[in-house]
């Protein structure tokens, strides 16, 4: 090192540098301390269970004692398990119908509730309330409404001379019944869409109107592109909700698990049964990890496709 750097004037920048680095380190430490609860929670309740599930999926594990490694035997058994295939089909049938329907219905409701009419606060409350009703209570109510013999729905249909189906007790109507139950509780995505709609700049609609765009064109070329990031967000959220469908089926089918002809034996129900009823935690872990992979693939495809239809403000498109 040259003497010029050892001159008294050169010592000042070193001290300032050290002080700056020390302050930076202090800041980092303080920042880490504040995020540590989240980090610890993430490690304990997400990362560890995730890798533990992956590990147990390669074992024969009853939940007690040691887990014995058995390689890919669980995954091999999955593909030879007819009930696994049934539950996968039921879940993806439900997802394929419920996801687009719920998106359309929630968005439609949000569009209606975004209009300037008298009593709008009341209407918004009415449409949101079903989403805060406890799931078990709503299931019990729906079982009554859809009772094939004495239910309100079939009574109304019979007044219209339409023969009501057997709803939850019918092989062909059981999944649609669950889909209808799902559509009833769309308050949360509806509120998110409503917030997004209110964020669309008004002047864009004014410009569009001036250019001669009617309501349909304004919806298609202004509203939907402007809220497309929110649509993507809601679709991904709903996808996860649909593939992990469990509580409603478990409550409604408590007397007939799997529903009529296993038509409503959903994937997570079967996973839960394998773990807590059959004590096959290794097998259920394999099911869980398989579901994660499938969901990740679908989400990746969705996100990759989003570049074609999602518009972010500031994008060149």
């Amino acid at each position: 090192m040259s003497n010029a750097l050892r001159s008294p004037d050169a010592k000042v920048p070193n001290r300032a540098l050290k002080a700056a680095r020390s302050a930076q380190r202090r800041q980092i430490r303080t920042g880490l301390l504040f995020v540590s609860p989240w980090v610890l929670g993430f490690l304990a309740f997400f990362l560890y269970p995730f890798f533990a599930t992956l590990y147990y999926s390669f074992t024969d594990y009853s939940g007690l004692g040691a887990a014995h490694l058995i390689g890919f035997a669980n995954y091999w058994a999955l593909f030879h398990d007819s009930l696994f295939r049934t539950s996968l089909f039921n879940t993806f049938y439900y997802t394929a119908v419920e996801l687009p329907l719920s998106t359309i219905v929630a968005l439609g409701l949000a569009l209606l509730l975004n209009m300037k009419v008298k009593g709008m606060a009341f209407y918004r409350t009415i449409f949101y309330i079903p989403s805060i009703v406890p799931i078990v209570a709503s299931c019990m109510v729906f079982v009554w409404i859809f009772n094939p013999t004495n239910g309100v729905m079939n009574s109304l249909l019979s007044n219209l001379h339409v023969p009501g189906p057997d709803w939850f007790f019918s092989v062909s109507w059981s999944k649609p019944s669950f889909i209808l139950l799902g559509l009833w509780g769309l308050g949360q995505p509806m509120v998110i869409y409503l917030a997004a709609l209110q964020g669309v700049p008004k002047d864009m609609y004014e410009v569009a109107s001036l250019e001669g765009a009617g309501p349909w064109h304004r919806l298609r070329h202004v509203t939907l592109p402007m809220i497309s990031p929110i649509i993507l967000f809601n679709v991904v959220l709903q996808l996860v909700v649909c593939v992990s469908y469990f509580t409603q089926a478990q409550v409604i089918e408590s007397q007939d698990v799997g529903g009529p002809g296993t038509s409503t034996w959903f994937y997570v129900q079967y996973l839960y049964t394998q773990a807590f009823q059959f004590l096959k935690f290794g097998y259920s872990s394999a099911m869980g990890f398989f579901l994660f992979v499938i969901t990740a693939i679908i989400t990746t495809v969705l996100l990759k496709s989003s570049s074609r239809w999602v518009y972010y403000a500031g994008d060149d498109r």
Partner: protein
């Protein structure tokens, strides 16, 4: 200082909470036992009577009963055992006991069958003992036993022109067919419908229980070694002409009222129903007293040559890791009525329970109960019948039972043939991880 405060806060935040029941250490010489059950409703009052009486007569042991929701009871027990903090006693439904025993979740109680308890197993009905035994080890002690018989509605029988209850299977099938009322596509009265329990509960009537091959695997589809299974499934297909969905919805509708004590038979809407003694002793008096005197109970007219029932019920188990297993064993044998005949013979009638041993059935209080409900004799006879069978406890018993329920439903709604249904049961029951 600031770091210390934040660190302390984090320590508190991260300190592991304790949850669940724990067997407490002796307290002034008193052993504290925790007993977890999944019962609800009036039965809880009976449990309270039992613990109060036991605690009063056993000053060195104090039992505390904890009630947990049945929907999550198994998961909670498994979590407690895995965490090393199980209750001392757990009352469990017998089908899961085999799995629990096979996987080391519950204790083998053979070690306690010494001294005063040497004769305990022989004291019980053989069916009761067998139902709680896994590979020669006593793993469950009966708390309340189930026995199944055929209820018939007298006025529905009379209206259908049937003069006396059926004595053969063919007669039953024909009689119940006359009792269905479906007008304009709407069901208003059921003749008989086995439902999801069709295979399991009816199995002993056809000799269709415990069918295994030489490798110890379930083998219900084998028509040579298990012809009863095919006969049972063929009988269940007789019901596919009936509206499966409407029957299930009627069951669900009535089951949702009266705290689950109601069903179409209790409501007077079903001609024949197979059920346990609680139907006549509790459900009907509680939910529809007008049905009292309008029903009878007979052994199911099966094909095995005599009255029979499947071994079933709620059994007390001692989880692995329980701190006071010896005292727990003393408590559960007392609950079963061993060295406690007088008390149990008073309690069992209140629960509508079949006793664990013949001594209790012979006791004056229980005999008074039988005199009041003469049809209880049917249930008691089945406990000693040579045709009655306990399901052999296996590692995959729950899988077998779940598969049987699915197969029973699918055969009755016509979506599976009998042969396919039996193959399905074998495939599911023999699946291994």
């Amino acid at each position: 200082m600031k770091a210390l405060a934040i660190g302390s806060a984090l320590t508190v935040l991260l300190a592991p909470g304790t949850a669940g029941a724990s067997a407490l250490k002796p307290d002034g010489g008193v052993v504290n036992l925790t007993w977890e059950t999944m019962w609800s409703g009036p039965t809880l009052l009976l449990l309270k009577q039992m613990t109060t009486a036991f605690n009063a007569s056993h000053p060195g042991i104090r039992v505390t009963e904890e009630n947990i929701p049945s929907a999550t009871g198994d998961a909670k027990l498994q979590s407690q055992i895995a965490a090393g903090d199980p209750p001392d006693i757990f009352t469990e439904w017998n089908p899961v006991i085999g799995e629990y025993a096979a996987k080391g979740y519950i204790l083998n109680m053979n070690t306690y069958l010494t001294g005063a308890y040497k004769g305990f197993v022989k004291w019980m009905y053989p069916l009761a003992a067998a139902t709680g035994t896994y590979k020669g080890e006593l793993v469950g002690v009966p708390m309340s036993l189930n026995s199944w018989a055929l209820y018939y509605n007298k006025s529905i029988m009379k209206a259908a022109g049937i003069m006396s209850p059926p004595t053969t299977l063919a007669q039953l099938t024909a009689d119940q067919a006359k009792e269905w009322i479906i007008k304009g596509g709407k069901l208003s009265q059921i003749g008989m419908y086995p439902g999801a329990n069709g295979y399991q509960y009816f199995s002993t009537f056809f000799g269709a229980l415990n069918c295994f091959n030489s490798a110890g695997q379930y083998d219900y589809a084998n028509t040579k070694t298990c012809p009863g299974a095919t006969a049972l499934m063929n009988w269940l297909t007789d019901f596919k002409s009936y509206p499966y969905a409407q029957v299930n919805s009627m069951n669900a509708t009535y089951g949702a009222v009266a705290g689950g004590d109601d069903d179409p038979f209790v409501a007077g809407k079903e001609g024949f129903n197979m059920d346990g003694p609680w139907e006549g002793a509790q459900n009907i008096p509680d939910a529809n007293p007008s049905m009292e005197g309008n029903f009878g109970v007979i052994p199911f007219p099966g094909t095995v040559g005599g009255p029979s029932t499947i071994g079933q019920g709620n059994f007390n188990i001692i989880p692995e890791g329980a701190s006071n297993s010896k005292d727990a064993f003393e408590f559960i044998t007392w609950l079963a009525g061993y060295n406690n005949v007088k008390f149990t013979s008073n309690i069992d009638p209140q629960g509508g329970w079949v006793p664990a041993g013949p001594q209790i059935a012979a006791a004056p209080a229980y005999q008074a109960y039988v005199k009041k409900f003469p049809w209880m004799t049917t249930y008691l006879e089945q406990m000693s019948s040579k045709y009655s069978q306990a399901p052999v406890l296996t590692t995959n018993q729950e899988q077998a039972n779940t598969a049987m329920a699915t197969a029973s439903n699918d055969v009755q709604d016509g979506s599976m043939s009998p042969a396919a249904a039996l193959k399905y049961i074998d495939t599911q029951a023999n699946a291994s991880s």
